[in-house]
Symmetry: C2
Subunit: 233 residues, 2 copies
């Protein structure tokens, strides 16, 4: 495989994908174009507008982008694509659309067979075994929570540390993931903004930050960037 699963598309004060463009230039080199999956539609924007955002970012590294909505047969377009990028937004909507358009199994097969892939936020959440550690609101009912399983664990993008000064009684992110483990057994990787997973024959933590690992019935722990997470399952 050749996949990058990134916590976020955008760092505070930066342009879309700016922090990871040097990485993407290598990742997608020699690809005729990148097929963009705009299904997650952040803020409900159109597929056209969302694809334009991706196109502008990739133009800085001279890579062409085509939107999946431009094709009649979405499954066929994914099967034939030289490279694929799934953008963030709402994971429930993304997963619903991947199933509705019969793209989910084709996308899984393509990426497993080596088509270079990038996911950010919701687009990296679906790289896990299930979407059940998303932070998103369930704005639509998907036919299943199962996702691509490019890694043998689940991903929590935009991982957020607890605020020690908070007086709010809503659950912290860590509490939510512990709740997940009362019913599910796979590990969860909390990816802070600026971190990503690089998947080849190994799964490596990349970026400047540590990640937080949650395993069922264990205390959560930190791993440094560069850690090999291949055997986390």
């Amino acid at each position: 495989m050749k996949a990058i699963l990134a916590s976020t598309s955008t760092l505070h004060g930066q342009a879309y994908l700016e922090y990871i463009l040097p990485e993407l230039k290598t990742h997608f080199q020699n690809c005729d174009f990148v097929l963009f999956i705009p299904y997650a539609r952040p803020g409900g924007i159109t597929h056209e507008d969302y694809t334009e955002t991706a196109r502008q970012a990739f133009s800085k590294i001279d890579i062409q982008v085509k939107g999946l909505h431009e094709f009649d047969d979405h499954a066929e377009a994914v099967r034939e694509a030289p490279a694929i990028f799934t953008g963030g937004g709402n994971t429930f909507l993304l997963v619903s659309e991947l199933y509705r358009n019969k793209v989910m199994p084709v996308l899984q097969e393509s990426v497993r067979n080596g088509t270079p892939y990038l996911g950010t936020s919701a687009g990296s959440n679906i790289g896990g075994l299930s979407m059940q550690t998303t932070n998103d609101m369930p704005i639509i009912y998907p036919p299943s929570f199962k996702t691509l399983g490019l890694v043998p664990f689940n991903i929590n993008p935009h991982y957020l540390d607890p605020d020690p000064n908070s007086r709010h009684k809503g659950e912290t992110r860590e509490t939510r993931i512990k709740e997940f483990h009362t019913l599910n057994s796979q590990p969860v990787v909390g990816l802070r903004e600026g971190s990503w997973l690089e998947i080849t024959d190994r799964v490596m933590l990349k970026g400047k930050l540590d990640a937080r690992i949650f395993e069922k019935d264990q205390d959560a722990y930190e791993v440094q960037t560069g850690t090999d997470l291949t055997n986390l399952n």
Copy 2:
């Protein structure tokens, strides 16, 4: 109807239900006992432990509590209960269990027919038309997102205002609710911690705080405590 839907069970620095006990003393007066629905299991605690928490709080106002798990037939227990309290925790788990035990339709009928009801957090989220404005993680796949519809809108408990100093790129609560409105039309009431809805022949906002109202294709707006929300639909 005679229902209270509260944003939270607990305010910062207070005991469980402490802030709302005076209200509950009146709400549940002359009830032989309150049937507690512990399905949402915050932090994965046992049904016994969770019911004990509720029992201790209600003992301060001399009201008995029985846990739904103590009964063989859960639907029958709900049908016969003189009063009902659904505690918070994970809404996906709560809704899954309400359907699995065939309690959802019976609970709806009982409350609509006048059985005094209290919900906190997840237990008030299910008072809305659907659970789709929950903040919780989808740790289990429920058979449906539809809920009790005691009010003609959706509820977002633990409503949290955006932090103007945040550098985090995850969606704010307001952004998430706007995403909900790209696919759904019912209004959403953002209930801050310490607020509740009192449902009789009217739906009134109670507590010390304002609530935030979201209607599709409109700017969000604030309503003061004491506002009649009966016609928000």
